[in-house]
Symmetry: C2
Subunit: 168 residues, 2 copies
DNA sequence: GCATGAATTGAGAAGTCATCTCATTCGCTC
DNA sequence: GAGCGAATGAGATGACTTCTCAATTCATGC
């Protein structure tokens, strides 16, 4: 289902575009390629900046429009990651995110058991699941150790956004 | 831990405020009360509008500031619900959300098994969880039936935002 | 290859949600 | 009730996203 390399993803995009009477433009290919080359969980802004280092100029409007399209086509996924804007990543295999409130590190985790329980939950509610996001915010191992070392003194640079979004 | 009625929540707020050298203002009480009286998953804007029907004027700035504070104090939780803004709700007992992409209905579900698996996942990653949100988007029972009835004709009014945010 | 026409882009305005600044007001303590 | 520091309101500002429309580009058929 999900592409496992860029070439496959590009074929999948071309198929989606022609099936829907849309055009395969250099901008669309460049944005898809940028995601595969740089990886991670970039925002629209980060993708635009990454593209600006290449030979092809792509406007912000096109970046946003294309990201929507690539999500729609199943080539990307979109999540919030506890910040005030959207993050995109290539849709390889589904996973959930552990987000460190202090350093911002993102740990990707997989749990088929949780997925199964989620489907069960939906079934019981008569709900047809189409997608889901599980985000856990907290402290990564490194930050836990640093806090332990510092004692109570300096709590380091906590990420305001992450703290705010997922208030306990 | 979490309050089970408004009076208890107010006491909890007063305790939090005095402990932190903050003041108990009519605005803060009004916002907390609004959440308990109206329930649901309102946005900051919805809360401001709800308050505007009462005798006390509260500015948008104060609404936003107070919601942050109430989340910090553990009296509210904050989530995105697949839309481009934050939603707040009183923090009674933790639950997850099923969000209908078509009609916007929010179904609250509880799964201790999933919570346990999440803790296990975090432990394995050396991660200390502080909070989490699990949001599943899809189609509620009513919408599934309506779509089945309509055949392929009218797919009804799908919620753009929900569709966009949690792309599969 | 080249004309044709619809899809797409870029520029910039506009919109939404959230935060910030600072003068004024208000709780709290004495 | 005076005094002081915290909190509010008004409005500017900012971050992110969407919209509008003229200009451009891609696909299709000659
Ligand atoms: Mn990821
Ligand atoms: Mn809820
Ligand atoms: Zn960390
Ligand atoms: Zn529905």
């Amino acid at each position: 289902m999900a592409a496992s390399n860029y070439e496959e993803a590009e074929r999948q995009l071309r198929r989606y575009l022609s099936k829907n009477g849309l055009r395969c433009t250099v901008e669309r290919l460049a944005i898809l390629k940028s995601l595969w080359e740089n990886g991670g969980h970039p925002s629209a802004e980060m993708i635009a900046q990454s593209l600006s280092k290449g030979p092809l100029y792509v406007s912000r409007a096109t970046v946003y429009r294309t990201l929507d399209l690539l999500v729609e086509a199943g080539l990307l996924t979109c999540s919030n990651l506890g910040e005030g804007h959207r993050h995109y990543e290539i849709n390889v295999d589904h996973h959930d995110h552990l987000i460190c409130r202090r350093c911002g590190k993102i740990i990707e985790v997989r749990s088929p058991e949780i997925e199964t329980l989620q489907r069960k939950l939906c079934k019981e509610a008569g709900f047809e699941p189409l997608s889901h996001t599980l985000e856990i915010t907290g402290l990564c191992g490194a930050c836990r150790r640093e806090i332990a070392d510092d004692g109570e003194s300096d709590n380091g640079a906590w990420r305001r956004s992450a703290v705010r979004q997922h208030g306990e």
